[in-house]
């Protein structure tokens, strides 16, 4: 098992390195410059020599390959560098915002799973019945409603109906669970419902597939109760493809929080990303992207391991 994990970890290196090369060089082609935004963006009168000095200070005068290798070298030492915008360590900038984003993503995943698994199963078991149609339409609506609009409408409704808005400052859960939840439950709902729609569809089709399997017929022939057949025989098998989707969506979600955080004004990694792009803070952008890519890669790894844990056919020998 350990060698397997080690091998898989090794396998992630080319992917991550490829992503690093891609994002690094793509970013450098983007027009705009952090120093100009910083010193000229708001109409101040800064002379060229100030700008040049700042450019030298940030190491932007060095050739690109050199900048790239020093970034990668830094990454291997777990030192991703300093934000070009605030000058603070990237680690600090990101670690302030990560707990929030991770919490929203995890809560979204939880909400999604809690909604999707029973929903998809019900839909599959009552296939082509009115219940199925209703649940399918619900999940399709969940997929269709744009997150930004959903979030917007949710905020406006809260404001309109209760004249109340979620807190604007993040409180860690362990400090004040109520304040924490009353801020984050809404974005989690918005991402969770969409996420649930994706997962429910997968659960539905995989339950339908599984219920057609021979071993379900075997279980029926054994005289087991339908409930036992569904829970014990069908669900465990049906969850395998569902886990892949839950994992994959989780990884996508981390990259997709941009819009939600924008709408809910959450000080998370997605908001930071948008700001960093707007500021052309490439050091921060590339590190956030690498972080999200790493989340993607490691979530996939985790899914595979979980798969192995559930499916006895996949075992390290």
């Amino acid at each position: 098992m350990l060698t397997y994990v080690a091998k898989r970890l090794l396998m992630t290196i080319p992917t991550l390195l490829g992503a690093a090369v891609l994002i690094f060089f793509m970013l450098r082609v983007v027009p705009g410059d952090v120093i100009e935004v910083k010193l000229r963006g708001d109409g101040a009168s800064v002379t060229q020599d100030v700008i040049d000095a700042e450019r030298r200070r940030l190491g932007l005068d060095k050739p690109l390959p050199e900048q790239f290798t020093s970034w990668i070298a830094g990454l291997t030492r777990l030192d991703p560098g300093l934000s070009m915008w605030t000058g603070k360590p990237v680690v600090d900038e990101m670690s302030v915002r990560l707990p929030l984003s991770i919490q929203v993503a995890v809560m979204g995943a939880l909400i999604a799973t809690l909604i999707a698994v029973p929903m998809g199963t019900l839909s599959a078991l009552y296939r082509d019945s009115p219940i199925d149609y209703l649940l399918r339409i619900f999940s399709l609506v969940g997929l269709a409603v744009p997150a930004f609009w959903f979030g917007m409408v949710m905020i406006l409704l809260l404001l309109w109906l209760f004249n109340w808005l979620p807190p604007v400052i993040y409180t860690p859960f362990h400090v004040d669970p109520i304040a924490n939840l009353s801020q984050l439950i809404w974005p989690a709902l918005v991402v969770g419902i969409r996420y649930a729609a994706v997962v429910a569809r997968m659960v539905r089709s995989s339950v339908i597939e599984v219920m057609k399997e021979d071993y379900i017929r075997t279980a029926r022939a054994k005289g087991l109760a339908e409930k036992v057949i569904i829970i014990r025989h069908a669900m465990k098998n049906a969850m395998l493809p569902a886990i892949t989707v839950i994992g994959l969506e989780f990884a996508f979600l981390m990259g997709g929080l941009v819009v939600t955080e924008q709408v809910f004004n959450l000080n998370g990694i997605g908001q930071l990303f948008v700001q960093a792009v707007a500021h052309r803070d490439f050091v921060l952008v590339q590190n956030i992207v690498m972080f999200i890519a790493a989340v993607f890669v490691f979530t996939n790894l985790a899914v595979d391991l979980l798969y192995a844990a559930i499916d006895p056919r996949i075992r390290y020998r």
């Binding site: 000229r40 963006g41 009168s45 002379t47 808005l165 604007v168 400052i169």
Partner: protein
Amino acid sequence: MTKSIWASAGALALAFLTTQGAMAQDAKPVRGGILNYGVAGGPHTLDCHAGNSFAVTHHLGPHYSTLMKTDNRNYPNTIGDLAKSWTISPDHLTYTFKLHDNVKFHDGTALTSEDVRASFQRIIDPPAGVVSAWRSMYADLKSVEAPDKDTVVFKMSAPNSGMLSIFGSPWACIYSAAKLKEDPKYPEKTVMGTGPFQLVEHVSGSHWTGKRFDGYFRPGLPYLDGFKAIALSSTALINALAGGQIDAEFRGVTPADQQRIQASRGANIRFEQAEGMGLFMVSFNTKVKPYDDIRVRRALTLAVDRWGGIEPMSRISTLKYVSSFQRPGAPDALPKAQLEKLPGFGRDIKAARAEARRLLAEAGVPNLKFTLINRGPDMPYAPFALYLIDQWRQIGVTVDQQVVDTANWAQRRTSGNFSVIVDVTGDWGEDPSFVMARFLSSDTSFNNPTGFSDPKIEQLFQAQKLEFDPAKRTQAVNVLENYIVEQIFTMPVFRTVRLLPFATKVQNYPVVPVHNWLGDVSEIWLKP
């Protein structure tokens, strides 16, 4: 003597301020409370000298003092902050300031003239690695000396009629000379000044909190126990105001926002406003055909119905005034009658449009098409451009808009990668030398992106700069402004309003046009 010059100008300006704030003076200030206000953006630096945006001053302002400051009750007069008194030599080449003697830094050390000297020295001659964003503004300053503990002397290389107001720049924070000696970059990491509040906590992207500095030199101040500046996107900011989560915001909201917030908050919110410093303009790249032809530029400015458009625009955006380069209420502004004679500012839009069509035909581009570069997506760029495009459509000009983000916009603007671009100024001060500097010829002013050069502009500019008689100076400024507007390399269109929301309990904050300066937070108090 110089004081009196400004006093009269200030009185004039005050007339343009809507003065609901006046009622604040009726009640007796109460100490205590925390002020929560929103800021649409985080500071990119903790060093005032390197800062240039409201996001910097709106966070750092309460922690620092400056030598002089703008008088928010007698705008745009300049008064002392750390300076108790000052004298100016008759040749306008030496400025001598006496400092208050009870000023303490947040670390308990006393402020001396050396701190002021070291801070200004850092601005005009930054050590390696230190960014001084405003260095060029102090180009006429030759040296700074601290002859004794309470006295600072500035020597000028040339006279400058706007120098006193430059001493009031909100960016010229006074740092501790001792700490600067240890590390000239300390202000980038530590917020430590002589201001009314001490920094408690800064959570990047989230909030910034300050508490009362008990050693603040102005007796009885500040009233507040502390403040919390909350970082919010511009949309969230309005929501937070409507939800009562913040008590104030100091950059300004739109009239639509005002209605929305008012509807939610009712009697718990009030609004105060002043003419804003944001001037929305269009710049032409005069190096690119056909914009090298003044007839084309003239046609394009004539086509825009400023007077007809401003009322509806004011309902949906922060744009509220028809304005040339100087604020209509500014001491040296062009008189309205003179303004209306300038191209594009006329009242007869039909005639103007006919003239515009004729000019375009004459210039050989009757069906002009171009791409307007706009900066997005903030307020009020989008409605501004939409209005322009619609106006130009009416003289047969087809305009396609390309919205780019600030970084791209700034780059295009400085590198001349545009033919027509939405342009903006948002100065922190009112002095004509300061306001008009960016409209100097492109070879003199790196902030003029149009590539337009005309030595006459420099001549007229120098003339007003060396003029110390207020009336004569106004005249000189008017001549300059008239001339620049007529060259139409940059066409001014609309000016913003600074419309500030306050929870009803927030007292004693006179609204001035400048949003890049936070104002005096120490005097704000909360009605229990």
